[in-house]
Amino acid sequence: MSEGKKANTEFIRTMRKMFRNPSAILGFALLIFFIIVAIFAPLIAEPTFFDENGNPVVYYDENGKVIKPNPYQIPYNDKIPSQPDRPSPDHPFGTIEKRDIFYGVVWGTRTAFFIGLTVTIISTLVGILIGSISGYYGGWIDEVLMRITDVFMSIPFLLAAMVLTTILGNGIDKVMIAMTVFGWMGAARLIRANILQVKEEQYILASKALGIKDYFIIMRHVLPNTIFPVLIQASMRMGSLVITAAGLSYLGLGAPLGYADWGSMLNYTRNWILGASGSTFSYWYAVFYPGMAMVLFVLAWNLVGDALRDVFDPRLK
């Protein structure tokens, strides 16, 4: 009873501290905005089929059921010209290559969350596992695991990702595999370094003196004291991973053409990025809206990461 109340006031105090900082408020506001967009994407931009005249149609299967279009494929609309067209009431962000940019940006939010969360969670878990074994046991186990980490770090990421996608084939999932395989080292090193420090703390020795098993010492005493920097790093990585995925998509390694992904939308603009002759910015909207979404998404995660660090890092208190 009193325990719950106490935890509650502690929580409120932490929240209050977090939201005293305007940039933290901005970060969380942006993040919440993106989350809302991702959740309500089907309402904001309804997935539809278009017939050859560019009119919305509904297709039925043999049982008379409505066939739903794949929402992550930006609808192809023949009414829209191939070359970019400026924003209009029908297409608030403009169009490019017979597709609506607004639709792509909205559904791209989901793709961004999907890529970011999946890759961050898996690579962080792998990193925590390898880093904590390495740090806690030390000795030759540490040596072997850290040299493996070094090998992975020594391979240039873009090159590795390109080679891996060449082997596995193109696609969002392949890009995610590449980013996970070459993305766990930071977390591993960070947690190892923290564990090396915490391991020397007297309360670890004290718990050993009480006869507590290694597994429990790692899980109960070491990890809770080392995990926050890793979580903060993970939240910062969320944003940058989306940029990386976009970069790979831009290079044509990631999402296939027409996929609702900010990076592959920029891929469309390759031919138009320099504008028309004489007016460089004539197709600005083709780059601006997907690019802006990306920038704000990264900004949101970085600000959230900063806010978490300010609250949880005892050295900044």
């Binding site: 009193s2 703390e201 309360y203 020795l205 003196a209 009480l210 006869g211 507590i212 809770p224």
Partner: protein
């Protein structure tokens, strides 16, 4: 009078294999601890007293190795022969330890209740609710006010003295037969020190446990220990009951230590200090390890290590020339009298 010791340390040698060479931190230490008594181990930093205590629980870091031929016999079992699982059952349950810095010996992310319960749940067959009751009970025993409330507090919410009390509660929660207290009061201020030592004494009486009290503070030993082991350079220099050692020290080092205590009954211009520095454990002097700082030393001392000899019943001294110390004491006593 002749009881069997509950803990016998025999020829304990603990070497650290560093890149610069072998550090003989503990080099052939023998002592006994009897049931219900307090054994004080006193010595300067680097004398090997903490390493000795960690060696008993086998908690040395991997660089430190307990050499073959060492024996730590606890209730008839050599702890050095046990495997890690059996050793874990001894730790906390039979032999518990409290540490110097109560500030850092409690995990900051758990409530003190959680930490006490962890030990109880580990070694005793009770459920969480019972363990919590036992934890509250323990906190009350160590004199923490409002234990029902304190049990849910985090270490940073307690003062240093309270934390050390919580540490003691944690260590004693499984009723160990032996408590190793490594500088338990060094980090506390003097009034709190006295309270904590008083608490340890009364709990010792209640539980009938033995205590190994490790400190560099001769005063703490004098007031709280029954017997004393004086260590220097990883060796036992003198051991006897507290009264004998402190009234009539026979080793020059012990005498030096006692002389360095400020006294109120005589006027002193300047406090005595033992000349020289504690030698680097990589390069102990040949022969007696105290020889380079000793005022009574002769040539023989820097060649040959003196044996630990029994000069009176129960009073062992590692010095060739302990008679000179006796003489010097008589002279100085006479000087004081005049």
């Amino acid at each position: 009078m002749e009881k069997n010791p509950m803990l016998s340390v025999r020829n304990l040698r603990t070497y650290f294999y560093t890149e610069d060479g072998v550090v003989r931190a503990v080099d052939g230490v023998d002592f006994d601890v009897y049931e219900g008594e307090t054994l004080g181990i006193v010595g300067e930093s680097g004398s090997g007293k903490s390493v000795t205590s960690l060696a008993i629980l086998r908690l040395l870091d991997p660089k430190g190795k307990i050499e073959d031929g060492s024996e730590i016999i606890f209730n008839g079992k050599n702890l050095l022969d046990l495997n890690e699982d059996e050793m874990r059952k001894i730790r906390g349950n039979d032999i518990a330890m409290i540490f110097q810095e109560p500030m850092v010996a409690l995990n900051p992310v758990f409530t003190i209740g959680d930490q006490i319960m962890e030990a109880i749940l580990l070694h005793q067959d009770v459920d969480k609710k019972k363990a919590r009751e036992m934890a509250i009970d323990m906190l009350r025993k160590v004199g923490i006010p409002e234990p029902e409330k304190r049990v849910d507090e985090y270490p940073h919410e307690l003062s240093g003295g309270m934390r050390q009390r919580a540490m003691i509660a944690m260590a004693l929660s499984c009723r160990p037969k032996l408590l190793i207290a490594d500088e338990p009061t060094t980090a506390l201020d003097v009034t709190i020190q006295a309270q904590i030592l008083e608490l340890m004494k009364s709990l010792q009486k209640e539980y009938g446990m033995a205590i190994i009290l490790i400190t560099h503070d001769v005063g703490v030993i004098a007031e709280n220990a029954d017997r004393v082991v004086v260590m220097y350079g990883g060796k036992v220099m003198e051991t006897s009951d507290v009264r004998t050692t402190f009234r009539k020290p026979k080793h020059p080092y012990t005498w030096g230590l006692l002389n360095s205590i400020p006294r109120l009954d005589i006027e002193q211009e300047r406090l005595y200090s033992i000349p020289g520095m504690v030698p680097d454990p990589l390069h102990f002097p040949a022969g007696c390890r105290f020889s380079n700082r000793c005022e009574f030393g002769e040539e023989k001392c820097s060649v040959e290590m003196p044996p630990l000899v029994e000069v009176e019943s129960g009073h062992m001294v590692r010095c060739f020339f302990y008679r000179k110390v006796e003489e010097a004491q008589k002279l100085s006593k006479a000087g004081e009298g005049a």
